[in-house]
């Protein structure tokens, strides 16, 4: 057989390995209760129904948890970009003493397990009044997203020629004007990708969110703590709902995926 055909067959197989489980849980999420418990199950959906999804959204607390997730992820996005982009710009444009130490600090933060942050912080947050608040969770999520934001924006700014900025200066722009009028428009799509990435990191995070909240749970934290005493349809619909942003997110930032990680090698 032609090697191209074998490659293609393998690629399709791997694509199916990714897609089939998503298809299966989507099938369950859009079936009625009887089909979710049916035995044995067919691969194809038996009866299309919004019963399971509607049941999920109808459970007390789900709406609030989704709202909390969006607020926390929104704050995380904001903090990560506001703190990360200036640092990324500094790394890309200036040579300064301590730049390497700073890079090392950024990389080291990625080597810390989340448990080492979440446990002591929840103890301290109680004292600071940050426990059980969206702000508290967003701070921890920012700690996860910030290293990425710095590295990605620095590679982003590196890709924008310095000469463009210098030309703007000679034409009478101040540094800030040159940045706003020349660099920012060029960097905007990449910054948007960084922001989306930060949003998804927060949307997906469960360990810290569960430890740091009690009533103001994010959706993953709410799902996790409800797992033990919730029926299967609730879990499947919740799982499916968690995945939906992933599909959109990967599609939106697909152009930047490899810059996002490529920079980590250097």
């Amino acid at each position: 057989m032609n090697p191209r055909t074998i490659y293609l067959a393998l690629a399709v197989l791997l694509a199916l390995w990714v897609l089939v489980p998503i298809f299966l849980i989507a099938t369950l999420a859009f079936s009625d209760r009887a089909s979710v418990f049916a035995w044995p199950k067919g691969i194809l959906p038996q009866r299309f129904s919004l019963e399971t999804i509607a049941f999920f959204f109808g459970v007390a607390g789900v709406g609030k948890a989704i709202g909390n997730s969006v607020i926390v992820a929104g704050l995380t996005l904001l903090f990560a970009v506001l703190l990360g982009a200036p640092a990324g710009y500094a790394l890309a444009r200036y040579r300064f003493a301590g730049a390497d130490a700073y890079r090392l600090l950024i990389l080291m933060t990625r080597a810390f397990p989340l448990a080492i942050l979440a446990v002591p912080l929840s103890v301290q947050f109680i004292r600071l009044g940050l426990y059980d608040t969206a702000l508290g969770v967003a701070l921890v999520h920012t700690a996860l997203a910030l290293p990425f934001a710095v590295l990605v924006t620095s590679s982003l700014f590196l890709g924008i020629p310095k000469e463009l900025e210098e030309a703007a200066w000679t034409l009478g722009c101040t540094r800030i004007q040159a940045f706003l009028k020349v660099v920012l428009p060029l960097a905007l799509p990449g910054l948007a990708a960084t922001a989306i990435f930060a949003f998804v990191i927060s949307w997906n995070e469960v360990f810290a969110a569960t430890l740091l909240t009690l009533r103001e749970r994010t959706l993953p934290a709410f799902l996790l703590t409800a797992l033990n005493d919730s029926p299967l349809p609730f879990r499947f619909a919740g799982g499916f709902f968690l995945i939906v942003p992933a599909l959109v997110f990967i599609f939106a930032i697909r152009r930047y995926l490899f810059t996002l990680w490529g920079i980590a090698n250097r």
Binding site: A11, W39, L105, P120, L121, F207, R254
Partner: protein, 282 residues
């Protein structure tokens, strides 16, 4: 321009302050929390942790998971990265589909695979269709640790291979094409080119991928909880239970410090073992 020398520091400062507050401080706090009792310094939290019924299994399964899952992911991702080079038609589509799991959380992955491994799930339905079983079988219970372990492995490989894949593809892009072409001129087979040229030059990316994935594997939590509750104890899960259910931050912190310790050891090991060989890289 002397007056501008402070600019980069001004730009970096907010993030440094933030990281000190969110990393350095909690790190110190966690260490203190784990060794301080009601009456001064103590090893009581570590002793309670070690004496706990779940402790041995938690250590065993956490390490075992990392040892099984990480190599599987690296081999699979390496295969996918090489395969991508051999595909011409629909390359972008495969890239998109293969990287979808990047955005899927560990909790969601656990729930996806729960739908397959649960009592009346797809696996049992499939086995029934093949005539291998008549009645639904329990796979995720306390009595079937091997199958529960396999389910977690499947979910983790399904979810997190994409991260390794992306890191490796990004690394492959950094390798100049000339090296491979030169080897081809000298008559190296594709297999030989892969072992002698590509793999050594890919070492830094492999190192990053291995370190990152191992640390994340040692933190495995939500996948396991979603699939088996506490039937398969893991370290991060125990930290969670001690904090949330038993309201004991001291023991929870002891678990956190233990995870940090194992992660640190693994990282050092990778840095030593996978040091890029200079004569090959040059």
């Amino acid at each position: 321009m002397r007056s501008e020398r402070y600019i980069p520091y001004l730009l970096v400062l907010p993030s440094v302050i933030f990281l000190l507050f969110l990393f350095a401080w909690p790190l110190v706090e966690a260490l203190l929390l784990s060794v301080r009792g009601s009456e001064g310094w103590t090893l009581e939290h570590f002793q309670r942790m070690a004496a706990d019924l779940y402790f041995k299994d938690a250590v065993k399964y956490t390490v075992l998971l990392a040892v099984v899952v990480v190599p599987l992911q690296v081999i699979l991702a390496l295969g996918m990265a090489m395969l991508l080079g051999g595909i011409s038609k629909g390359r972008d589509l495969f890239l998109y589909v293969w990287t979808i799991p990047l955005g899927i959380s560990d909790l969601a992955a656990g729930l996806v695979w729960l739908s397959i491994f649960t009592e009346r799930g797809y696996l049992n339905s499939f086995l029934q269709a093949l005539g291998l079983i008549q009645e639904p079988r329990l796979w995720l219970s306390y009595e079937t640790p091997a199958m529960l372990f396999l389910a977690v492995v499947a979910a983790e490989v399904w979810r997190a291979t994409a991260i390794v894949f992306v890191i490796l593809v990004a690394g492959l892009q950094l390798i100049p094409k000339e090296y491979g072409e030169a080897a081809e001129v000298f008559g190296a087979t594709p297999w030989r080119r892969f072992w002698r040229v590509t793999l050594p030059l890919l070492m830094p990316s492999l190192q990053v991928a291995l370190i990152l994935r191992t640390i994340l594997a040692l933190e495995v939590f939500a996948v396991v909880v979603a699939l088996g509750g506490r039937n398969l104890p893991v370290l991060a899960g125990e930290a969670y239970f001690w904090y949330n259910a038993y309201q004991n931050p001291g023991v929870a912190a002891a678990y956190a410090v233990l995870i940090l310790g194992i992660s640190g050891l693994a990282t050092l090991l990778y840095l030593r073992l996978l040091r890029p060989r200079q004569e090959v890289a040059a």
